[in-house]
Amino acid sequence: MLQFIIRRLIYAVATMFAISVVSFVIIQLPPGDFLTSYAASLAQQGDAIAPEQLEALREAYGLGQPIYIQYLKWISGVLRGDFGQSMEWRAPVSSLIWDRMGFTVMISASTILFVWAFAIPVGVYSATKQYSIGDYFFTFLGFLGLAIPNFMLALVLMWIGFSVFGQNVGGLFSPEFENAPWSLAKFLDMLSHLWIPLLVIGTAGTAGLIRTMRANMLDEINQPYVETARAKGLKEGRLIWKYPVRVALNPFVSTVGYALPELVSGVIIVAVVLNLPTVGPLLLRSLLSQDMFLAGAIVLLISIMTVIGTLLSDILLAWLDPRIRLD
């Protein structure tokens, strides 16, 4: 087990290195170096920057030096928690993203829990009651969930919320709690807003996972060991949950690694529509204004978060299913 974890860890670190290279390339993509555009945008606002200061910044970021030195300077800063300066906000990137990152992780994690809590029982139900009306209903729902773009569903829910209930369903807090310090009331207020993003982001992921769970269950449910248990007089409900479900869960856990990146993509775009305080809207804005250090940092952190999530699900799988460890 330990060996397995170590191997996965090494692999994850290698992936993170590749991610950092991609993020650095993204920062470098816009034409011209960012200091020139930084100076230009300052000048536009009638706010000149002293040549010495510009030179000092140039030195700090290693501009004009070979590209790998620039990368090394950037990545060593990142490892110390310094993601560079945000041009648009005139503040260090790290001061802008951390609480938004926190909300992103929170929403992604609770969406996964929501999706699991929904997909597993429904998958089991669909398999045990194959070709029943309920099975067809969930199959149809699944296809629909796959076909409706996340943001479309968010828009429709907002429209319904507005025209039926007469309230704006966007955001994560009511206006009175927006800037309030954390308290029980604020937490409860957040919970009352949280279900919409969960529902919206969850639908797409749930659809696929229900199908997987259903197929796994159908493979297991006719196995001889199930029949044996039934012949011994085990009650049907207890039988299903104790034997085939536990076996069917293993391949299910392994699909989570693929579901996670998709889910994070969903969190980003839904957050833009619903105006959630996550990194989604910030990423969009930074890309539109070519605020590349901010954009690069967000891409980096989001991808690393996904890799960590996948790593955790891999370890969970190995813990559940000893066969994986020997692979």
Partner: protein, 402 residues
Amino acid sequence: MDMNSSLQKGQTARQADEQAGPQELPGDYSIDETTIEEKISIATPRQLMWWKFRKHRVAVASLFVLAVFYVVGFIGAEFFSPYDPNAFSAAYKFVPPMGISFIDAEGNFSLNPGVFRVESERDPNTLREIWTTDYSTWYPIHFFVEGVPYKLFGLFETNIHLFGLGEEAEGMPIFLLGSDRLGRDMVSRVLYGARISLSIGLVSVFLSLFLGILLGGVSGYYGGWIDNVIQRVIEFIRSIPSLPLWMALSAALPPEWPQEMRYFGITIILSVIGWTGLGRQVRGRFLALRNEDFVLAARLGGARDMRIILRHMVPSFMSHIIASLTLSIPGVILAETALSFLGLGLRQPVISWGVLLQEAQNIRTVALSPWLMLPGLAVVITVLAFNFLGDGLRDAADPFSR
């Protein structure tokens, strides 16, 4: 039946020999048992696939829906749309969809459908324009009316549009799906948008296919370290969320690029990240086929690698590839829609469904003019249809199973 005969026409002489004899159309279930069995035993793989595909009713219906979409939007958008998609009319902003009515103002039934007149007034408090329907004035819809000139199929100069309103409407335009903030007709815009949205899926998937067959093929055929490298790359791409990458890459497209360049830029960005699924499929197939006897026979016969791959291996899994190709089109369409919706993909004046949905981005517009979300319905139908079609094709790709 129509497709069936064209399918047969496309077959080679050798295949035609094999099915010599019975002239009845295949799948004609009125014939007795023995002939069905005979038919199955002498049918070509292509025929078996077609029969199997036809059993999947939803897939056949989806194929039909998609065919209609492509014909209406792709080939004939100019003819089917009543107006130029960019023509605006300041007097008719945010008009809700006009209902088609077969009952005219006098309450008489008319075979020719028509619409009632709409009038605008201002809300005295909010100064917002409110549209009301005047049920005492009814205008019949005219068919094959003259309008903006265009070139049908890019060849024939004409100005005939499928439908529109006549002189008696006193200049009132017909907005079956409503109008947007500049008074542009949503029907025309959705139809023109179909051209971009439906083509970007095909173009990008073919690019992905090229990359997938090339890299997946190399990976599966040669194996060894090169397989290892390509597999790690695929795993890496799949382990990070694609949307932020797509967003960052399309934001980096130079803003001064003309629209066609932008279109191709987006297509390339979508397929550079999207080829991995197909790459995996192709690799798996190559791995499975590499040790088959007929491949060995070809190799012993002295065929070169390229010939073995293209003449012996690719044809045997092409049907599977086509099925997974169909299943990957929806992803591309959704991705383009999402990017354009965010303002990072295609931009005005280019019209795609995503660009149209951008108009419905804020809660005010959505609440007051929900019909601006209709292009999203087009996306949903298209994606559903492609999914069902792909499902049917996947079943048909292996006609010998059960």
